[in-house]
């Protein structure tokens, strides 16, 4: 999927998330009082780039891995 369509898709998904009304598990006053935040040093863009670019090669490893799993036992 081209990047523009993918980001449109993501916005749709986030609307679904909002519609489900997931409660805020950390009230804002607690966040502020803790003088920090719960964020992690997560580089979403870099992870996504690797996810997309390595998929074809990783898929070969997946299919060969399944072949290894389902191969009949070798006769002695």
């Amino acid at each position: 999927m081209e990047p523009r369509k993918l980001s449109e898709f993501r916005r749709e998904m986030e609307k679904i998330f909002d519609a489900v009304d997931v409660p805020d598990s950390c009230p804002r006053r607690i966040m502020e009082a803790s003088q920090g935040n719960s964020s992690d040093p997560w580089n979403e863009d870099e992870d996504h780039r690797r996810f997309s670019e390595s998929l074809p090669e990783s898929f070969e490893s997946f299919e060969r891995g399944v072949e290894f799993l389902t191969a009949p036992p070798k006769s002695k």
């Binding site: 999927m1 993918l6 980001s7 898709f9 993501r10 998904m13 986030e14 679904i16 998330f17 909002d18 489900v20 997931v22 409660p23 805020d24 598990s25 950390c26 804002r28 006053r29 607690i30 966040m31 502020e32 009082a33 803790s34 920090g36 935040n37 719960s38 964020s39 992690d40 040093p41 997560w42 580089n43 979403e44 870099e46 992870d47 996504h48 690797r50 996810f51 997309s52 670019e53 390595s54 998929l55 074809p56 090669e57 990783s58 898929f59 490893s61 997946f62 299919e63 060969r64 891995g65 399944v66 072949e67 290894f68 799993l69």
Partner: protein, 189 residues
């Protein structure tokens, strides 16, 4: 209500943070399904956003609990890392299984006419979890990608699908992959 908290207090993830992770996994999942479609056009796969939401919330709750109860150094324990993300998202993706085959025929003739003997859809959630996790570990190791050897991939798929693999076992497994990805020694001889 008093808002005085211990100096090392670690807040839970906020709704916005969970929303962001859910958005990320939705995008990846959609891309993943389209890739499968390009390789296997007869497979009709889909993911359920409600299940994926459940995965995101559960994994991030687990990461928060881990940070709170298992790390001692205040500076370190504020953050999770690629290994914990890999571990807990794998745990919940494999347990709740957001990806499924759509409308698999239940009439034998139709089933047989559409059945692909090479189909691997029983393992599709396990593979999504592994591939996502390896992307996290690759970024952390500053490598373009981590591709598992097929036998290693096969063994991990087997364990995730059939065995009772705990979060702690997964964490050490991903730790070993991360170590190898950074070209650090695992065995001396």
């Amino acid at each position: 209500m008093s808002t005085t908290l211990p100096s090392d207090y670690i807040p839970r993830f906020t709704r916005d943070e969970i929303r962001k992770r859910f958005g990320y996994f939705s995008e990846c999942c959609q891309e993943y399904l389209e890739f499968f479609k390009s390789r296997h056009p007869t497979w009709e796969l889909q993911f359920d956003p409600l299940v994926l939401m459940n995965v995101s919330i559960s994994a991030m709750d687990d990461i928060w609990r881990w940070k709170v109860y298992h790390l001692r150094e205040p500076q370190e324990r504020r953050f999770s890392d690629a290994i914990k993300r890999a571990t807990y998202f794998t745990k919940w993706l494999v347990k709740l299984r957001p990806i499924h085959f759509v409308n698999r025929p239940v009439v034998s003739a139709e089933f047989l006419s559409r059945f692909d003997k090479e189909e691997t859809t029983l393992l599709i959630n396990e593979y999504f979890a592994i591939h996502s996790s390896l992307s996290f570990l690759a970024t952390d190791a500053k490598r373009d990608k981590i591709i598992l050897a097929p036998k290693t991939m096969g063994r991990l798929l087997y364990h995730l699908h059939y065995r009772d693999i705990t979060s702690d076992s997964l964490m050490i497994w991903y730790q070993l992959v991360a170590t190898a990805a950074k070209n650090e020694l695992i065995i001396m001889r």
